[in-house]
């Protein structure tokens, strides 16, 4: 089921205004316990390490820009929430040696990526967390096919980055005993399609065909004990550039989209930049908007004063829906999306683009309807039963019903259509955390 929304990005790229302050949000790295390497007030170069992973000492997290670490924002129990860096006028980048992928061993590549700060871009399933460098995945998946609503068009963003992509893919290929599976849209012209050393898959169909979880399930599903790594193509570019030049370049082309944006288009900017630097460049229709790091289904709530997330290449702005609607539950609805036909008429207009708000359109309820999720959930898994197993914390059921294979984002569409307005992604996240904690 595709969700057609107003506010698709026009295919022109502008350079965003340079941000004064850049921020790294620790929430982007799920389950990570950071240990600081530099003190507040320290000067860092771009690509210089800020902190490391307490459990994997080699795993460094680097600064996207050079400047002064002005603030370490802490939350409950002194947990680090955000690191803010005031950028220098003159940018300096820490240079590492270049890596010759051809002659490098997998150990060399791992060490190189770890010290350069590129490792956090590699995620693993099960659990949907940053991969453990000590492990060997059975395969690596890259999805170059985008179906999420309004998400940045990868064919456009990656254009001209073939060299970086090739370098990154070749390096990743040495890290797995299996294959590097790369998917591209059937009708697109993705630069990913021309790469060597990959297993290419042509994918077509509506959302969630573009989600990497769907592709894993269809190509090579994960079993208990198995490991799969996933990397997004925009992060492959950063990895590739690092391998080729030895420099960590946090630059990224992002799509600013959504119905609240006056001129939705692409911006060239850096990880951690202030959202306002490009949001107001395009203009917004109202002040009462929701700014989202990512797409409307899986993104994280942010604000115009917030910062671009570590993994995001899309920023969405849509109207807030904190309003009442008189008898909204029984009158015919023409302006919202629905997968039923219960006096909702979106099925008559498959091409129409909708302007949705953040209103939940109803209150939270227990699971009632059945058979609805299966219509938008292509994985060979019983979605409602798995969700219920997570809610009651039944570890055996969770394992048997296939929790190893999924990430929260796989449940974004079922959450969208849920008439009971249950928070599916949160339920799955909590289930994964529990499973990792208990079984590991």
């Amino acid at each position: 089921m595709n969700i057609n929304l107003v506010g698709e990005a026009e295919k022109t790229t502008s350079k965003a205004v340079l941000s004064n302050v850049y921020a790294i949000k620790l929430k982007d790295f799920h389950g990570l316990t950071p240990k600081m390497l530099v003190k507040q007030g320290a000067e860092v170069k771009a690509g210089e390490a800020l902190f490391y992973n307490k459990n994997v000492v080699d795993m460094l997290f680097v600064s996207p820009v050079s400047g002064e670490l002005i603030e370490i924002e802490r939350g409950a129990r002194r947990r680090i929430v955000t690191l803010k860096i005031l950028a220098d006028k003159e940018q300096q980048t820490l240079e590492h040696s270049k890596l010759n992928v051809e002659s490098a061993t997998s150990q060399d590549i791992k060490a190189h990526l770890l010290k350069g700060g590129c490792w956090p871009f590699i995620k693993q399933r099960p659990y949907d967390i940053i991969a453990d460098p000590d492990t060997n995945p059975k395969a690596i998946f890259v999805s170059g096919y985008v179906t999420a609503p309004l998400a940045a068009d990868l064919d456009y963003v990656l254009d001209g980055k073939e060299a970086e992509l090739q370098a990154a893919v070749s390096a990743l290929g040495k890290l797995t005993a299996g294959k590097v599976h790369v998917s591209v849209g059937k009708s697109g012209h993705s630069p990913l399609a021309g790469l060597n050393g990959i297993e290419l898959h042509n994918v077509s169909g509506p959302h969630p065909a573009g989600l990497v979880g769907t592709q894993i399930n269809k190509i090579d599903p994960i079993n208990k004990g198995e490991l799969v790594w996933t990397v997004t193509p925009q992060d492959l570019v950063i990895i590739g550039e690092y391998i080729l030049t030895g420099k960590f370049n946090a630059e990224r082309t992002i799509a600013l989209v959504g119905s609240s944006v006056k001129a939705p288009k692409y911006y060239k900017t850096k990880i951690g930049t202030e959202v306002s630097t490009f949001l107001y460049g395009s203009g917004v229709h109202s002040e009462n908007i929701r700014v989202i790091n990512g797409d409307v289904l899986t993104g994280v709530k942010s604000s115009p004063a917030g910062y671009l997330g570590y993994y995001n290449n899309t920023v969405t702005a849509i109207p807030e829906g904190d309003d009442y609607e008189f008898f909204g539950w029984n009158k015919p609805i023409f302006n919202k999306i629905s997968n039923t036909r219960a006096l909702t008429f979106s099925w008559m207009m498959p091409k129409k683009k909708f302007d949705l708000t953040t209103n939940t359109n109803g209150e939270h309820r227990a699971f009632v309807l059945t058979g609805q999720y299966e219509q938008v959930f292509p994985l060979d898994i019983y979605p409602m039963q798995l969700l219920k197993a997570c809610m009651v914390k039944d570890l055996d059921e969770m394992e048997q019903l296939g929790l190893y294979e999924v990430a929260p984002e796989d449940f974004s569409l079922t959450e969208f259509i849920c008439v009971s307005k249950q928070p599916h992604q949160q339920i799955i996240r909590e289930g994964l955390d529990l499973l990792q904690q208990e079984i590991g």
Binding site: L297, Y324, I337, A342, L343, R365, G371, S420
Partner: protein, 422 residues
């Protein structure tokens, strides 16, 4: 309203107030994290769609209440015309004084129980009863006393639903629990030929008491005729078209197979109810009916057998008499109490149709089986789902045998370390 909501926020009566508030307005609640947009449907809309599918049936039943009454008193009109004999104010008036009170009691008592539970347990009032409250008056005989209905509704909502935790948690369909309670608690009242037509019982009681100025009227249902092996008399009284359009005696809303068919098509089209359950239930009942027809044809039972009437009844006619169609369309498709997996739905529906007709034929006391069959299958639905899901799990286990589990780089080191420390 918004200010009132804020004022009562966190107080004990908040759920009761919120129920009224959200009835009028879609709440101003916005998403937090997870999906930031949500589809237009909520549970209220879903339930409302089912109610809309029930409205034609309710209207028809109000006319039919009067039509059956006057026909029983005066005899069936010779040259029947819908406008002249059916859609009349006299008929509708009987409907108003007999059917509407059933609806009012069902909703009034049921929602009162819901509100009380919501306030006690501090959750929101759930929409499930909107449908149940509409179903209940349509599946009881017209002459059901209101106090009986009230007692049954309290029992059904409390035992059938609230003790399990409310809508979405119940095992048995609450509307059918209410119907079953009526049937088992007041069996003499609920069966026989006197409850299906307005005033039939009253008059027979007056006659027993010695009154001579009233004529006895009876409104035997079609199944009742058949159970007593009076197939010929039944056929003389009602044509197949009568059965299909619904001009026959029976529970309030179950008679018109035509309108139920329309309602069912609407529910399938709007994707609210499961077409799998409906179709497989129809198939199930046809199969069972055919088997019985064959039994008669083979001559295994004679015309004197007490099952002869129902067994020889043409298999497809089971669908247009009694409550089978109504049960299949509106009750078997209840998503909470039915099977939840798509494959399970096929099995579940088939067995409902199959067992309905079986009970119908073999039940000596009361020739109707659909509500018992659905309740029975409600109980078995989780078992059906369990085996369907086992299938999925087995497939996953099979895959696991070929899993490529690669060792960690540090596995060797860990063993060395262990060896040293030991």
């Amino acid at each position: 309203m918004h200010e009132l909501k804020m004022k009562y926020q966190g107080k004990k009566m908040a759920p009761a107030f919120n129920a009224i508030h959200t009835f009028l307005f879609v709440p101003n609640e916005t998403t937090h994290n997870g999906t930031h947009v949500k589809s237009a449907d909520d549970l209220k809309r879903t339930m409302n769609t089912v109610i809309m599918a029930l409205v034609p049936v309710l209207l028809f039943s109000m006319f039919n209440a009067g039509y059956q009454h006057f026909s029983a008193v005066n005899g069936f009109p010779g040259n029947f015309s819908v406008m002249e004999h059916f859609l009349t104010w006299d008929n509708f008036w009987i409907g108003i004084i007999k059917v509407l009170p059933l609806v009012a009691i069902s909703y009034g008592i049921g929602l009162l129980v819901e509100f009380i539970f919501a306030v006690i347990k501090g959750h929101e009032v759930e929409e499930g009863y909107l449908v149940t409250g509409m179903l209940v008056p349509l599946i009881v005989p017209i002459d059901t006393p209101l106090w009986m209905l009230a007692v049954a509704v309290v029992f059904g909502v409390v035992i059938g639903k609230e003790v399990f935790g409310g809508t979405g948690m119940n095992i048995l369909n609450p509307a059918l629990t209410i119907r079953a309670f009526l049937f088992f608690a007041y069996p003499t009242w609920m069966s026989g030929d006197k409850v299906w037509v307005y005033e039939a019982r009253e008059r027979s009681e007056q006659i027993l008491a010695g009154a001579t100025d009233v004529d006895a009227i009876s409104g035997e249902t079609i199944l009742g005729y058949l159970a007593q092996n009076k197939g010929a008399a039944m056929e003389a009284a009602y044509s197949n078209w009568d059965m299909f359009w619904g001009f026959i005696p029976g529970s309030v809303g179950e008679t018109s197979a035509f309108l139920i068919l329309l309602g069912g098509l609407f529910l399938v089209f709007s994707k609210i109810a499961s077409w799998r359950i409906m179709i497989s239930a129809v198939i199930g009942s046809l199969v069972m009916g055919l088997i019985f027809n064959q039994v008669v044809e083979m001559g295994w039972i004679g015309e004197t057998s007490k099952f002869y009437g129902l067994m020889s009844f043409d298999f497809w006619k089971h669908l247009i008499v009694g409550g089978l169609a109504f049960g299949i369309v509106y009750m078997a498709t209840d998503p909470v109490t039915g099977a939840q997996t798509n494959r399970g739905k096929w099995i579940y529906g088939f067995l409902i149709g199959f067992i309905s007709v079986m009970i119908r034929v073999f039940n000596p006391a009361y020739p109707e089986g659909v509500f018992l069959a659905i309740l029975l299958m409600n109980v078995f639905a989780p078992t059906i789902d369990h085996y369907v899901i086992r299938g999925n799990i087995k497939r996953r286990m099979k895959r696991l045998k070929n899993a490529t589990i690669l060792p960690k780089d540090t596995d060797g080191k860990a063993k060395e370390l262990q060896a040293e420390t030991v």
